[in-house]
Amino acid sequence: MDPARKRRFRLVAALTAALVLAGGLVYTSFSAGSPAKTPSELLASAEAGGSYKLTGKVVDGSIRHEGDTLLFSVRDRDGTTSVPVSYTGSVPDPFREGREIIVTVSRGAGDTFVAEKDSLVTKCPSKFEAEDDAASDMS
Amino acid sequence: MDALALLAIFALLLVVAWVVVTPLRREAATRAAAREEADRQDLEAARDAKYREIRDAELDLQTGKLSQEDWRALDRQLRAEAVEILRRLDELE
């Protein structure tokens, strides 16, 4: 094979490999992701076995400890529909009632949603308060 | 706004204006001179880079990555390329 053909062959091979990898990446990201849902959306459309990123505010007075498990309820940001969550794992420092949180849950027994361990993320309370890498507690 | 603040602002304006305006009162240079200068700097940078390549090749030989013949061929080629650059530099003057 003359050098020019060899080079073109290499280029085509490299591009194909890149496309295949990129395609694989794109494909798996759509199946590996967890959709974000508010409590009302979660109650309406959560399928058994699916995992979802629940976003909302911690309901005042709903925080309880039972042994190693943390129990609390999450409500819509502007609303009252709430969802009870059972959580184990690290609790971020800013976590408290009224705070906005994100937690990965799946439907558990009865009405409760069981959270994935260590998946609780609490948003910093005020505008641009924490610095660039205040990566509170996401695992 | 108090007098001190006003004074401070005025002082800042003065400094800034002085810094920015002084070059405008000097002689202007031509565009051609700039281009020639840029050409020379570029050739000098290319020459330095070529010298570095020659030294790198020597180090490659010393650390066993090149055989004697391969190195000799490479060194000769690199030096020829350096000669070319030097010649172009000379032409500029």
Partner: protein, 726 residues
Amino acid sequence: MATVGRAALLIALLICAYGVIAAIYGALSGRREWVESARRSVYALAIALTVAFGILEFAFLRSDFSFAVVAGHSSTSTPTFYKASAMWSSQEGSLLLWVWLLSLWSSLVVFLTRRRMREVVPWATAVLLGYGAFFTALLVFAVSPFETLAQPPADGAGLNPLLRHPAMMIHPPMLYSGYTLFAIPFAFAVGALIAKRVDAEWIRSTRRFALGAWLVLGIGIILGARWSYNELGWGGYWAWDAVENASLMPWLTGTAFIHSVMIQEKRGMLKVWNVSLVLATGILCVLGTFLVRSGILDSIHAFGASTLGVPFVALIAGMSLGSIALVVWRRGLLRSEHRLDSLLSREAMFLLNNLVLVAMCFVVFWGTFFPLISEAVTGEETSVGPPWFSRYTVPLALVLVLLSGIGPLIAWRRATATNLRRTFAIPVTCGVVAFLALLFVPGVPQKPLALAMFALAAFVAGTVGQEIWRGTRARRAMTGEPLPLAVTSLVRRNRRRYGGYLVHLGIVVLFVGVAASSTFQTAHDSRMSPGDTVRVDGYDVRYVRATAEVGDDPSGTGAMLSLGAVLDVSKDGRHVTTLRPARSFYPSNSTASGPVEWLVGGEPTSEVAVRSGPLKDFWTAVNPDMTRFQEIIDQGDKAVAADIPEMQQPMVAFRLLRDVIAPNYVENPPPAMFRMISSPLVAWIWIGSLIAIGGGLIALWPAPDAARRRATATLRARVAQDLGRA
């Protein structure tokens, strides 16, 4: 004072506007005095911004609460050290810091290139001042740091306690310095494309700036990771969070550029690629600056919709479209001069390295922006988590490590195939020996990826060691120097090469630390009362007693109350260490709090207790059960509010806290949640970064003029011989 600050910012904006026009006019007309004036504008900008920065910083240090920013982010109870850094915890202050740093680095660059690149500098200056104009315009019209309050409050809101850590003081300036330093190669790339000077001189200057920016950005990223590990209650150093990723992406493309630009230097190839990398890196830096304050990505940093979203998107879009247009316009200039001589060359290895790095950047980019992408495509916002990121970056990292071991063993242009066996023998043996040895370590063979990383790391270490050894030996053969002197002069005369090798070694040590600490970690959450013992990874940890400190914060962060535990850690009966994790409570600033609540109702933080060793880290954090404690505080609030006149309430509340509530916690501690993590080789992450930083500094250090002249003189003589002959 605030008016002076506002005026300084306005002056800065005017300087930028003037400078851009002067630079472009000077470039187009060829009248150098206008270019000179534009260059001077950069200095003037630095002066004006230093004044503004100084005023604001001074206001923070003086706790001047008539400044809205100071009232919102600092307080009298914030320790002085952190008052200074509180400035950049605010949106306004951080933007001012960014543009101030930009003006400083731009001034440095304009000074260093005062006699060089005369055709490129005008355009580059225009770009840098254009950046400056954007940011100062934001500060003048959108988010002014010099807003004053008609009624200054008696005390401010205080610095978020999470940020009261030395690393947090340095991390933003470092990160911003990295971002702004990358603006310079960006500006020079734009300038070089317009002036049609994408040549050796451009390479020489750009490479230097890019290396410096890469180094500083890397330090910023590591500091952030260290802060996360030592300060936050989750025990990790990297979460693949959107903002972390935003700083990693330009670092990856910057690394690619540093390597591929050497190919352009030697063979005149990859011009389009290199220029695109530099432009992309600059854009990614602005993207990173934007992400942290935009709220477009739902992460821990959802700061709500900010007013700055639209201008930043416009800037990024403008930069992207402009860059593409520029490259297309000058594509004739960017044609390759040569082709790759051989696949068995260091150039080919660098090319592969670039492909891997860009692939990693793409993975990180895709994962970071996936919530937006998925929303656009499927209508539903979906995000991917750390496992997805690791799945793709880990194999890519393994390939990267492999390449960093192979690259140094292959010569430039074309390696001698027959020498390969001898060159690869020792490093490959190191890798194989490490692999076999680790097969016998329990738990390791079950984790093939970690095992592969360890073996490859040994391979790279072997490569670096062999290179240093062979180079030293060759040098001693020539000069007869004693060994230590030979090593130092070898490194000194080949800074780029050996500095680079050291960086590779450092990065590889870092990867080993990451691989070991994430794969072989043992984490344990438990609820304990004093006297309880728990077993974690062979260590027996006993909760000895509870502690409560009031008002006297040993870590200097201004905590009012610190509830902690004394943990006794032992192994096989032998005492290993005593750890004292705690949870610190800070004054709240809400007027709705009762007097006792006011003292401790602010953001709590975890005071992590870590025992770091070369082989293993034992990390602990405590989270006391606050329900009962909260009741006691509520009771205290009621008691104080009912019986004590308002003036004396703070004093009485404090005494109550100190003399009753805190001792009560020590004597009757409720059970507390403990998180304990035993991770191997975490220290290697920090050590590896130090090695890499050292290597970067060596590579960056300019050779002293005398040495350089000597080197070129010898070569010139040899080459002159050829010239004479030819």
